[in-house]
């Protein structure tokens, strides 16, 4: 377990008659970038929400082996009555970051995600979708989490920002951080990920290392992913 930051064992989750997750088991190694792939409704967000404690599994176990966890949702939402700087201020307060350190972190991290820090004077609900996503990145980055879970990391971002975020992920990996990324943009993830987990209709179909897959003759992740969609489920 020392090398594993996430260990999910036989997770099951039903929403009424809908079986959202079936015996979902996988693990995430420390210092890696894991791509969590699946179609719409495959169970990616449900799995993530269980990992983060927003949902309770009907059965199964989750072990998170880190003290500082970060999360960027698909479409981040913020308290409508708060300005950007207030959100960062409250987050910093919660994680014991003082004012001076916060100011330098905001300057440094804003540049990393291409966020215009002048926006911080405005209420976050007035931001565009892309800027709300960047705001969520900024909020997480000031905390410097050991494990960052991102649902649709590139949703709402323009191509320049996508490149910045991709570089950011690689920088974080260099710093020894672990990333768990759930996305539909397989080609973007393929450029940076080390591990891949594929989920379909609530079942894990594949959990492997990207290099191992390449050595096995799989040309690209997208073709591999699509090939799984035609396989019958057990």
């Amino acid at each position: 377990m020392n090398n594993l930051l996430i260990r999910s064992v036989n997770l099951n989750k039903n929403f009424g008659k809908i079986r959202a997750l079936r015996q979902v088991s996988f693990s995430v190694k420390k210092g890696t970038i894991t791509a969590f792939l699946g179609e719409n409704g495959a169970g990616k967000t449900t799995t993530i929400k269980i990992l983060l404690g927003f949902l309770k599994p009907d059965s199964g176990q989750v072990e998170i082996n880190c003290s500082k966890l970060g999360y960027i949702p698909d479409r981040p939402l913020f308290f409508s009555w708060l300005k950007g700087k207030e959100i960062l201020h409250f987050t910093a307060k919660l994680f014991g970051i003082n004012g001076q350190r916060l100011a330098s972190l905001i300057e440094e991290k804003s540049a990393k995600v291409g966020f215009d820090s002048e926006l911080l004077e405005r209420r976050v609900q007035t931001y565009s979708l892309g800027n709300q996503k960047k705001m969520s990145y900024l909020q997480n980055l000031i905390v410097t989490p050991e494990l960052l879970i991102v649902d649709e990391p590139f949703a709402g971002l323009d191509p320049v920002s996508i490149k910045l975020v991709r570089d950011l992920f690689l920088d974080l990996k260099k710093e020894g951080k672990t990333l768990f990324l759930s996305s539909h943009l397989i080609s973007e993830l393929e450029k940076i990920c080390d591990e891949v987990v594929i989920i379909r209709k609530g079942q894990i179909l594949l959990e492997d290392n990207i290099e191992t897959l390449r050595r096995q003759g799989h040309v690209d992740l997208e073709t591999l992913f699509l090939s799984f969609l035609h396989q019958p489920l057990i």
């Binding site: 404690g53 927003f54 949702p73 479409r75 409508s80 009555w81």
Partner: protein, 245 residues
């Protein structure tokens, strides 16, 4: 992360919400404005009586828009509330709102007390009545927040106000009898168990009447009801899952 820091941040978050809501601020100021008007138009004693009857409404008004909207909107799916911390936030909201309502109420009461002491017409019973009002206020916050699990922003408060209007109307209907509920209410004595139960139900809808000294013994009903609503909310929050609508 310490529990103390968590509460401090949650308190500040809720404080910002209250201060940024114009409607909420205005409604919460209404009891204070009424008291000020009575003070100018009538006497200090009357103003204190008005204040003691009205100030628990500050607690009620602040309890609007407590739970449902935030739970269902997705705003709690944030790094600040990971790994079950949103539960602490929701539970601490009840305490934070109580403090936020208590602060201006205590400030106005202190001013009235000082004025009363200076004029020489202050009675210590006012202090007990203020504490009784505080029990009523805490009851309002717990009832309002419990209702806000089922009703969207503000509707929970409206439901309580409607129940109070119905309770007052029922008093008027009792006037048709030779000796009705209103007469017993005025005397502060109820002839049998049925009337006592009726009064208890009446106080659950309009608890402000318990600020009258003669009804102090019935405050235990409110304390029990507060405990019940708190327990129900604790159970609900403990098992709560965030499912964005």
């Amino acid at each position: 992360m310490f529990a103390k820091t968590r509460f401090k941040v949650n308190f500040l978050l809720i404080q910002k919400k209250v201060f940024r809501s114009t409607g909420l601020c205005f409604l919460s100021l209404v009891p204070g404005l009424v008291v000020f008007y009575v003070l100018l138009a009538d006497s200090l004693a009357m103003a204190i009586n008005f204040f003691l009857f009205l100030f628990p409404y500050t607690f009620l008004f602040l309890s609007g828009d407590m739970m449902k909207d935030e739970i269902e909107s997705g705003v709690l799916e944030n790094i600040m509330f990971l790994q079950g911390e949103y539960r602490a936030y929701l539970l601490q909201k009840i305490l934070a709102l109580t403090i936020l309502a208590l602060l201006p109420s205590a400030a106005i009461f202190s001013m009235l007390v000082m004025a009363g002491l200076l004029k020489g017409n202050f009675s210590w019973i006012y202090l007990l009545q203020f504490l009784a009002g505080l029990v009523v206020g805490i009851y309002y916050v717990t009832l309002g927040s419990w209702l806000s699990f089922y009703f969207r922003g503000g509707s929970n408060v409206l439901i309580i106000i409607m129940a109070q209007i119905m309770a007052i109307l029922s008093l008027f209907f009792s006037l048709q009898k030779k000796i009705g509920f209103l007469d017993y209410l005025e005397k502060g004595h109820f002839p049998n168990l049925l009337y006592k139960i009726k009064f208890i139900i009446f106080t659950l809808a309009l608890p402000n009447v318990l600020i009258a000294r003669k009804f102090f013994p019935y405050l235990f009903v409110l304390v029990m009801a507060t405990g019940f609503f708190l327990f129900r909310q604790w159970r609900r929050i403990k098992n709560l899952e965030l499912k964005k609508q």
